[in-house]
Structure formats: C-alpha cells, structure tokens
C-alpha cells in the first residue's frame, strides 16, 4: 500500500476508506504520526488490517494502534468489533498466545534502598521464575486440576495460596472469564498445558524490575500505588502451550466452518465462525479456558516474584511487599457493549496486540480506580521506558475502549541478530545499570531495543488522540528473559 492511498484525518490519525477494496466491509483507522505510519507501511501490517476489514458482521472501523506490526491474519496492534447478532469470531484474529498480557506490581521500596541488593534480586528472580524454551513449572497439574484452572483462573490461584484477594480485584475480569468450558479444549491442548503453569516461556516474554522515573498525574499515581523513585515489577506472558494449541485446533476446525457458512476471506488465517453458531460458541468457551489459565499463570509468577523479594530483602529493608496495580490482556476476544452509530450494541471486540482501555465509571473496575479509568500497561523494549496510562471516555468512541500494548517491532528477528550480538547487548545494557538474566544470547539479540519502535512516540500518539492519558514512565533496572 502507498501512503498516498491513506487519508490523513488528524495529525495522528489516518483512514483507509471501505471503498479501497471491494471486499472491505468497514474502513480502517490507523493511529500514527508521520514516522510511525512510514514504519507501518514498511511491512504488511496495513494490508493485514485491510484483510481484517472483510470479516462478516464488523461494525464501526478496524482500528490500528501506533505500535502495529506485521503478524498473521490480523496485524499485531489491531482491534476489530463484530456484532453479536450476525458477526463472527476469528481465532487467528485473536492470536495463538490467548490472553498474553502484562501485570504490574508496585512496591514501597526506593531504588536507593534496594540498590545494594539488585544483583541478588535479579539472580533470585531468574532462579525462582521458570523461564526459557521447553521449561516446565513446579506445579504439574492433574487433568481435573487443570480443568479447575481453566474454569476459574485466578480464583484457583487464590484458593491454593498463590494470590491475595486484592490481586484478583485488580485483574481484568477479576482474573476469571465467564463461560469457560474445558470440554471444548482438546486432549492435546491439555497435555501441553498441564506441566507449564507458572512458567514465563521465551520470545518476548519477560519479568522486569523498573524504577518509577517520572509521574505525570500525581493523584492517579498515588491511587495506583506508584511513587517516584520506587521500584515496580512487570510480568509479561500468556497461556503457554495450552493457548497455542487451542488456537491451532480451532483454526483447523474453522477451515471447514467458513465453507459451511459461505464466508469468503482473503486469508485462511482469518477463518471464523458466526458468534451465534455451535462452532463460534465452542471456540469462545475454549478461549476462555486459555484466558483463565493465563491469568493463573501470571498470578503464580507473581507469587514467585514475591517469594524472591522476601528471600533477598527480608531483614534488610523495611517493606518488600508488592501491591498489584493491574493485570491486562492484550490477545483476547471479549463480549462487550459499545455505542456504534448512536446505537448501544453487544459486540465481540477482537484485540490482538491491543489492550482494553476503558474510561472512568466502568463498573468492572475496582472501586478505587473507578473515577480514574482502567490502567493501561505499555511495556517498552528491555532497554527503554515502559508506561502506565489510563483509559478514557474518548477511547470508547474511537477504538472500542482499546489502546496500544507495547513498543511494536520494526526489525525482523533475523535482522536484529545480524546487527546486534547478544553478549554485546548484555554488556551495553549492564553498563547502563540494567541487570540482565537471559537463557539465550541469540534470543536476547532478537529482542534488542533497536528492533522496536520508540515507545515514547507510540504513547504520544495514543495520548494526543485522547484514547489514553499518561500517569507514569518507568525505566528498567532488571530484565529476566527466557
């Protein structure tokens, strides 16, 4: 696609009209500044967004976030909403790592107080939080227990001593998606999921200890438990092999469904089924199982993180407790109510590499956050900043209550490894005071900050557009990678 084919409708918003291609059902709205739109046009992201705009039952517009990059089916950084009455659900439009997401934990520990112990803390986190390719967790589950995790998510973790009640209050959907049905999950998916609960995985997943570097809204930051100069911890991971297999199973199953329902698509990865069909309902019930597993997974890792702090800091600092700020999903299909063309309707919002960003007043938020809006967590790229934002009412009008999910890649893994050596990168980051513990140096090189867009520029666009507002900027001091 050529930049001249885009209509610029604001300094940070571009449109591809539905007339661009005959099979498009709705327009595509892209949130990006001049540089970010050039980067988005540098790969097949926008073409993938146009493909997504062909799904049956779409409403409004397909929304593309400024951290967009090429994925499969829908781009990463895409949001698409389909009517419940005649729309579809597309597993590939949600992604293989169902409920991949981010959790943020705040501390009362200042960087100065913790400084002497950060090397030990990095090693303890790496030792206590299983990470890396093919690594199994310390909680192998029986079949029945896995089904309980799938049905109840973070509630399972709470019942088994891995959570505080307040953790669940400050998790999207309280860490449990309704409608989960383990009978819709294949034996293969369960076999993959049983040994992996409480593991980080590899790739772009991480645990990061940050310092709250800058606060933009002191009142909001205080309510969220974030204080300038204090440590905060992010956990980024998802539903592991269980979610990957569920998505694979349903992408296969729905290859036949699109023929049965007479749905024509430009890409087989976008296969879908009507929301109101046996196939669509079965996928949503299985997706909810993976989502609940992912909430429990991040909760157990939170337990390991708390245990690590206690082991290293008990008796040395005054308060090593961690308060959960929030936990959000960024690969999910959610049934929500939105106003479209002046009409309130129920839709399935596909967010693939995009986070929910509901504004103030949303009943699903914990009481202490209800006047603020939902926390939006935007991790950076290992050596750069991360952001804590808040959702806005404007996000409900513009983007089905959604915002960006990270920095977004701009360089292929192959190119990153060609231009950066893992051991050199590690030295460079450690020279900047960022302690690195990683299982694979080539893997570390693939995730180099240079491979990502400028997260500050991404955040600037969503805040200029009014779909989120700034609360705090965090900078890393420890990064744990698989």
């Amino acid at each position: 696609m050529n930049k001249k084919e885009l209509h610029r409708i604001a300094p940070w918003q571009w449109e591809i009209p539905a007339s661009y291609r005959p099979d498009m059902r709705v327009p595509v709205h892209i949130y990006a500044d001049e540089r970010l739109i050039d980067e988005a046009l540098g790969d097949r992201s926008i073409e993938q967004a146009v493909n997504a705009a062909t799904l049956p039952g779409l409403v409004g517009q397909v929304v593309v976030m400024p951290d967009v990059h090429q994925g499969y089916g829908c781009p990463i950084g895409g949001v698409a909403a389909t009517r419940l009455s005649d729309g579809v659900v597309s597993p590939g439009g949600i992604g293989y790592d169902i409920n991949c997401g981010v959790r943020l934990l705040a501390s009362r520990l200042s960087f100065d107080e913790a400084g002497p112990y950060l090397d030990d803390l990095a090693s303890a986190l790496y030792a206590n939080c299983p990470s890396g390719v093919g690594v199994k967790g310390s909680l192998p589950l029986s079949g029945k227990e896995l089904d309980r995790v799938c049905r109840t998510g973070s509630e399972w973790a709470l019942a088994n001593g891995y959570a505080l009640p307040s953790d669940l209050d400050r998790t999207e959907e309280s860490g449990r998606i309704e409608g989960a049905d383990p009978s819709c999950v294949s034996t293969r998916a369960k076999e993959r999921g049983r040994p992996q609960l409480g593991t980080l995985g590899a790739g772009n997943h991480f645990i990061e200890v940050d310092v709250v570097e800058q606060v933009f809204d002191a009142g909001a930051a205080q309510t969220l438990g974030l204080s300038p100069g204090h440590l905060a911890i992010q956990i980024h991971c998802g539903s592991r092999g269980l979610g990957h297999q569920i998505c694979s199973d349903y992408v296969h199953e729905l290859q036949g469904a699109v023929q049965r329902y007479g749905i024509r698509l430009p890409d087989r990865e976008l296969v879908c089924a009507p929301l109101d069909s046996p196939e669509g309902r079965r996928y949503l019930a299985a997706m909810a199982c993976a989502a609940n597993y992912a909430f429990a997974n991040r909760q157990i890792l939170t337990h390991h993180v708390r245990r690590s702090l206690e082991g290293v800091l008990a008796g040395k600092v005054g308060d090593w407790s961690l308060r959960q700020v929030y936990d959000i999903a960024h690969n999910m299909g959610k049934i929500e109510e939105h106003t479209v063309d002046g009409r309130l309707m129920r839709v399935c919002v596909h967010r693939k590499g995009a986070t929910r960003a509901f504004g103030p007043g949303f009943a699903g938020l914990p009481a202490e956050y209800r006047d603020l809006g939902q926390p939006v967590l935007v991790p950076g790229s290992m050596g750069t900043a991360s952001w804590v934002l808040l959702g806005t009412e404007e996000s409900m009008r513009r983007s089905f209550g959604s915002s960006c999910h990270g920095a977004g890649r701009v360089m292929s893994r192959h190119e990153a490894k060609r231009s950066v050596r893992g051991d050199q990168l590690r030295r460079e980051l450690e020279g900047r005071g960022i302690r690195i513990r990683a299982g694979s140096m080539p893997g570390l090189a693939e995730e180099a900050p240079q491979a990502y867009k400028q997260v500050d520029a991404v955040v600037e666009v969503v805040t200029q557009a009014g779909i989120a507002r700034k609360v705090a900027r965090l900078t890393p001091v420890i990064v744990i990678k698989g």
């Binding site: 090429q70 994925g71 790739g203 990957h244 890649r409 192959h414």
Partner: protein, 136 residues
C-alpha cells in the same frame, strides 16, 4: 529443482520460511528440515526410537500445517529431537512419515504455532513451493 530446499524470508515479528520440493514428499521433508533448523534442537546421547506418522488432509496447505504441528507437538510433549525423517506421499494431500527420535538435550527457540497466513502450495516449473509463517 531451482533454489534452496528452504530459506528464511523477512517477517517483522515472527518467522517465515519459503520451502520447495520436486514433489509433495520433498516439500514436506524440506519444510520439516527448515522448521527444525529454526528451532535448533540438539539430540542427547541415548536410545533412538522410530515412530510412524500418517496424515490425510483436505488439501496440501492444511497437510503442511498439520505435519509441522505434529512435529512441534511431539518435540514439546515427549521432549525429543528428530535425528532422521523420511516422508512418502499418500495421495494428493496425505503423507506417511517415519521419524527417528532421540532424547532432547537442548533447544534454541520455541515456535508457538504454524499459521495459515498467506499459505498456499503453488506449483512451479521445478515442483512445489510454499511460504510458511510461524508464530514465535
């Protein structure tokens, strides 16, 4: 056959391979070899075991995805590396494979899934060709 059996092609976030074969069996073998070269699994010393896999799919693209998924599933759940792979075609979109497995010593990278994104098995003057995107 023109071109390499498999080659990595640029993809911003994930991994993509272009694979070629003079026929369906060669395409499936080269796709497996290509994917395993991305994973960099190292076999450990120990007993080798031979296993048979038979797959039938509605079309060649689906066969390709199911075949590679089968290998990923065995690798993850059985903790094995593959030391030999033989593939024969059974009909227009089926295969019979014999794989030799060894205990897995280490693995370089995880592949989450094999996608259908843009996937088509195309006939070329030299045989068959397909480009596969892997979610990592």
């Amino acid at each position: 056959m023109t071109g390499q059996p498999f080659e990595e092609v640029a993809h911003t976030a994930d991994l993509a391979l272009r694979v070629r074969g003079v026929d369906l069996a060669a395409l499936m073998l080269h796709a497996a070899q290509g994917m395993l070269s991305l994973i960099q699994a190292v076999p450990a010393p120990g007993q080798r075991q031979t296993t048979s896999i038979a797959l039938q799919s509605p079309d060649r693209a689906e066969l390709l995805v199911r075949w590679l998924e089968e290998l990923l599933f065995r690798m993850e759940t059985q903790a094995v590396a593959f030391t030999a792979i033989h593939v024969t075609a059974t009909g227009p979109s089926g295969l019979q494979a014999t794989i030799e497995e060894a205990p897995l010593a280490s693995i370089g990278r995880a592949i989450k899934a094999v996608t259908y994104h843009g996937l088509a098995v195309r006939e070329t003057p030299a045989g068959l060709e397909a480009t596969i995107v892997f979610d990592v």
